[in-house]
């Protein structure tokens, strides 16, 4: 049992980590948290289904196209829900409401287009494997493997590429970065695209295991946010550790205590960490914290 809980916990935790990393990217460049994140996860899944069902595109093309549209929607979000708020007052926190609102708009659009019913989504692979005393589906391991690859790629991108370094420079000091000739607007756009892609891929990974519907993203926003804050906002390692902690804790609580408490445990961690260590496990104390 324990092994199975750990496998499930790590896999789901990896998904929360992806969403958590999405929270980080916009936090770095814009100092905002995008509470529509979960809806981007949902959008990528439903758009894939739409392109496959109604445009009759094969799945790989439908998925790539859906991710492209999701990324474009990320840019739209910056333009309509974030930029106007920050232009009006850079210290404003109205983005909490505008991003949440944008998420509700996306959700309602999805209901209009897809209705409230659920849709199936194809698996990457069929079959079951035996791991010691646990039997799990290959699909689950595939999800885990892809998550690991994505996290590594994300790390390489941010730490080893010029563009990634530019993101960090903007995160560190936007004015100074611009003085160095970094196109900060472009970097902001890039972070929005990254956010949308991370959420979208997370959604595509879980879609075969759960069912796709317009409300599938809401809970993921909460869990990804818990992961990011638990690990420390702005810290990629933090988001990963936070995601894993939430994912494993969920399985243990659901399995050994009560399945009904599963969704609450992430929030409980969130409250505890905010009281005990507000900067999160891996976050740095910053004097000008907002």
């Amino acid at each position: 049992m324990l092994l199975l809980f750990l496998i499930l916990g790590i896999t789901w935790g990896g998904i929360y980590a992806l969403v958590g990393l999405g929270f980080n990217t916009t936090f770095w460049t814009l100092r905002i948290l995008n509470f529509a994140q979960g809806e981007y996860l949902m959008a990528a899944v439903l758009l894939s289904i739409g392109f496959n069902r109604w445009v009759n595109l094969p799945w790989p093309i439908a998925i790539v196209l859906a991710l492209a549209v999701t990324a474009a929607l990320g840019l739209v979000l910056e333009r309509v829900a974030i930029r106007p708020v920050l232009q009006h007052d850079p210290r404003s926190h109205s983005w909490v409401v505008t991003t949440l609102g944008a998420g509700i708009v996306l959700q309602n659009l999805a209901v209009l287009l897809f209705g409230t019913s659920e849709y199936p989504f194809p698996k990457l692979m069929e079959g079951v494997v035996q791991l010691l005393d646990a039997r799990v589906e290959k699909q689950l391991l595939a999800v885990f493997a892809i998550t690991v690859v994505l996290v590594v790629l994300f790390d390489i991108f941010v730490n080893r590429t010029l563009m990634g370094k530019a993101i960090k420079a903007v995160a560190f000091d936007r004015m100074a970065a611009e003085a160095q000739g970094i196109n900060s607007r472009g970097i902001v756009m890039l972070s929005m695209i990254l956010m949308a892609l991370l959420a979208g891929i997370a959604g595509l990974l879980i879609a075969p295991m759960v069912s796709a519907h317009p409300y599938m993203g809401t809970l993921m926003t909460v869990k990804g946010f818990s992961a990011a804050v638990l690990g420390g906002l702005g810290s990629p390692v933090g988001a990963i550790v936070g995601g894993l902690v939430v994912g494993i804790a969920e399985q243990l609580v659901g399995g050994y205590i009560n399945p009904g408490l599963k969704d609450a445990i992430g929030l409980i961690f969130l409250f505890v960490i905010l009281i005990a260590r507000p900067q999160g496990l891996f976050g740095k104390k910053v004097a000008e914290r907002v």
Binding site: S117, E118, R135
Partner: protein
């Protein structure tokens, strides 16, 4: 004080406006050419050739729209056939259909309007159990016979002297689900039920029926409808040694459960009520839609069809040649036809009762309905009594096995 009066006035005006606009929009769903005097239809048995009005409330739009459409199609078919064979009491039948969008308030409005304004002899519907519950008091107070064509709550056919149930009662289904443990010898039952208004009474029914059989479940778990992941509940059932899962909930949740079971490499039978036979369970579960059992009307699953069922299927095909949902895409009729047949049976048994009563007087029709004996319907031979007004006898329901490619009678 003045402010409160003003507020009250504004509110009541808004309410009035809402009421009128609703009855206005409701009117679009019926063709209502006749303006028969209301007293004429009440007096009954006169020389009047005014149509006999029957009210049908169905969820034509909203979450149950698909089912609602089937109910509407069945009702129009019954109406057409009855009128083609000379009507009832020499008068044509007119079925006035209202859409409640699965909404309790709209359902109440529709039932009130049909009784007060259209002066219908009887009410059929609404589609959803919750709306039925809300409207039973209205029909009882008005003394209007209430034919529940789709609601499955166990009390509908027993606790309301003016109500008649045409769908399979939950308790009957629960008994068959519990008996599955006896028939297969898999009696380490794990319960997995939705913690909502459908799952909780269902769980109580299954528990009561298990107790009657002397079976003690090894574990009981609940889930929130649309829970994305139920592996925790499943692992707890597995850990308790369950070798069969008794389920109560909707098809989409059952699909999640079957997919989660595949994730865990665990494969035991899943047995539940008839939402499982709906297409959406098989759509969502895909290849995992297997080792799953449910209850359903035998009408269009068993072969050969009864003559009545065969005639109904033929008439349906002739009336709706383009329908592929209820009749199915093939030549052979699909078992979905039984859903509409519940409504068809309700209307034809009502017409028979009016004929026997010789009048459209509601009290007389109610008495004639209650005394119905051996009426040959599509889904079953229907008999009512003062104690039990359930159209489907137990033997009309069978256990079926669900596979990715369809639904079969359990061997």
């Amino acid at each position: 004080m003045k402010r409160f009066v003003a507020l009250f006035l504004v509110l009541s005006m808004a309410l009035l406006a809402a009421c009128t606009s609703q009855s206005g929009s409701g009117g679009t769903s019926s063709q209502n050419p006749s303006t028969g005097s209301q007293t004429a239809s009440q007096s009954g048995g006169s020389e009047s050739k005014d149509p006999i009005k029957i009210g049908l409330v169905a969820a034509l739009t909203g979450p149950s729209a698909e089912l609602g459409k089937g109910i509407q199609m069945a009702a129009r078919l019954a109406e057409k056939e009855l009128n083609a064979s000379g009507g009832v009491l020499g008068r044509p039948i007119q079925i006035i259909i209202r859409d409640d969008q699965s909404n309790t308030q709209l359902g109440l409005n529709a039932v009130n309007e049909l009784i007060q304004k259209e002066n219908v002899v009887a009410i059929i519907g609404p589609t959803n159990s919750g709306v039925v519950k809300a409207t039973l008091g209205v029909t009882a107070a008005a003394g209007v016979p209430h034919l529940i064509n789709n609601g499955q709550d166990t009390e509908f056919g027993y606790d309301y002297p003016h109500a008649f149930q045409f769908a399979m009662p939950n308790r009957t289904q629960a008994r068959m689900i519990a008996q599955f443990t006896q028939e297969t010898g898999l009696n380490k039952a794990g319960l997995l039920t939705a913690n909502d208004g459908y799952g909780q009474p269902g769980r109580a029914d299954v528990l009561a029926e298990l107790e009657a059989l002397g079976v003690q479940p090894v574990a009981m778990e609940e889930f929130k409808p649309t829970d994305a992941d139920m592996t925790s509940q499943l692992l707890r059932l597995k850990d308790a040694g369950a070798n069969v899962i008794l389920f109560w909930g909707m098809g989409n949740d059952a699909a999640t459960i079957r997919k989660n079971m595949a994730t865990l490499g665990w494969d035991v039978p899943l047995v539940g009520p008839n939402p499982l036979v709906m297409n959406n369970f098989r759509d969502l579960a895909g290849p995992e839609a297997r080792n799953t059992f449910s209850t359903y009307e035998a009408t269009f699953i068993r072969r050969p069809l009864t003559p009545k069922a065969e005639a109904y299927a033929k008439a349906w095909k002739a009336e709706y040649p383009d329908d592929t949902l209820f009749y199915g895409p093939g030549e052979e009729p699909y078992f979905y036809l039984a859903m509409g047949a519940q409504t068809y049976d309700a209307i034809t048994v009502l017409a028979d009762a009016i004929e026997r009563a010789g009048t459209t007087d509601r009290a007389a029709v109610l008495e004639a309905l209650t005394n119905t004996q051996g009426f040959e319907g599509v889904n079953s031979v229907i008999s009512f009594s003062k104690e039990k007004r359930v159209a489907l006898p137990d033997e009309a329901n069978i256990l079926v096995e669900i596979k990715p490619d369809g639904v079969y009678e359990m061997k």
